[in-house]
């Protein structure tokens, strides 16, 4: 049952991100193009998603001691604003603006085997491995 729910959650995310329009990189680029052909509609994707998730987080989750199929809720523990967060978010934003794809949209589109999507995912993997390799070296300094 828990396997089914997880697959279902993935599929539902795919349906949502597609209907929302984030799998269309030109639409994402227009959303980011605030000084040109600005298309603010993707802001509404966030509004819809946050609305539902906030209800879950503040009204349903507090009534549960633990998730249905796991021992505990695993929430992020970091709370400080540090340089890796800011530089990392900035770097992600730059990549988002270059390609128009975020990881969720690219993975949703992956099985269509489009060259530009596959190149993006392949090099995202390169970037992730590169960052994992770099992190301990940077931490020493």
């Amino acid at each position: 049952m828990k396997y089914l729910f997880t697959i279902l959650a993935g599929a539902m995310f795919a349906v949502g991100i597609t209907i929302g329009g984030m799998t269309v990189p030109s639409k994402v680029l227009n959303f980011l193009d605030v000084t040109g052909n600005w298309d603010p509609s993707l802001m509404l994707v966030m509004v819809g998603a946050i609305g539902v998730y906030a209800v879950m987080f503040y009204l349903i989750m507090p009534k549960m001691e633990k998730p249905l199929f796991d021992e505990k809720f695993k929430l992020p523990t970091k709370s400080n604003i540090d340089l890796p967060l800011i530089l990392g978010a900035a770097t992600f934003g730059a990549g988002w603006g270059v390609g128009g794809f975020c990881p969720g949209a690219a993975l949703t589109s992956s099985l269509l085997l489009d060259t530009s999507v596959l190149v993006f995912i392949l090099f995202m993997i390169v970037g992730m491995y590169g960052a994992m390799f770099l992190q301990p070296l940077l931490a020493k300094k």
Binding site: K2, I7, A9, G10, A11, M12, A14, V15, G16, I19, G20, M22, T23, V24, K27, L29, L32, D33, V34, T35, G36, D39, P40, S41, L44, G48, A49, I50, Y53, A54, P67, D70, L75, K78, S79, I81, P84, L85, L87, G88, A89, A90, T91, G93, G95, W96, G97, G99, C102, P103, L107, T108, S109, D114, S116, F120, I121, I125, M128, A131
Partner: protein
């Protein structure tokens, strides 16, 4: 002119919120796409299957949706393959150090009023906007 949509983005966003809520209520996990995916690159025992299943559902969902809404899979941007490679590297490095992307920070983090996410989201949107302006202004969409 770009078409401004209201209902579809709202409905799509609500479905993403539902998906993220299901993952939290059943597995106790944040629905951050980059984090779920990156966890597969350095697998830990007992922490892999749920990631595989989620991404399986996600990518299979895309295959179904292309039959229903083919116009939502128009990947034409005028960006060259080299630029897509650059985009991939920047996104991969950025989400690792920045601890998340549009889903983990943008949906889950903002909803939880996480201070880190409230810094991350305007940062990546702001830099994204500057980069898009630069690429359009200097016509750099195909330089690589």
């Amino acid at each position: 002119m770009v078409e401004f949509e209201v209902v579809k983005p709202l409905v799509g966003g609500m479905l993403m919120g539902c998906s993220a809520a299901i993952l939290m209520l059943t597995r106790g996990r944040i629905a951050g796409m980059s984090g779920i995916f990156e966890g597969l690159l350095r697998p830990k025992s007992g922490d892999t299957l749920w990631r595989v299943l989620f991404i399986l559902g996600l990518s299979a969902g895309g295959l179904v949706m292309v039959e229903i809404l083919p116009e939502r899979f128009n990947f034409e941007t005028g960006r060259s393959v080299g630029m897509m490679a650059l985009a991939g590297v920047l996104v991969g490095v950025g989400v690792h150090f920045g601890s998340g992307c549009t889903s983990g920070h943008g949906i889950c983090g903002i909803s939880r009023l996480s201070v880190r996410s409230m810094v991350a989201v305007p940062t990546f949107m702001g830099v994204g906007a500057v980069v898009v302006w630069g690429i359009n202004h200097f016509q750099l969409g195909g330089v690589l």
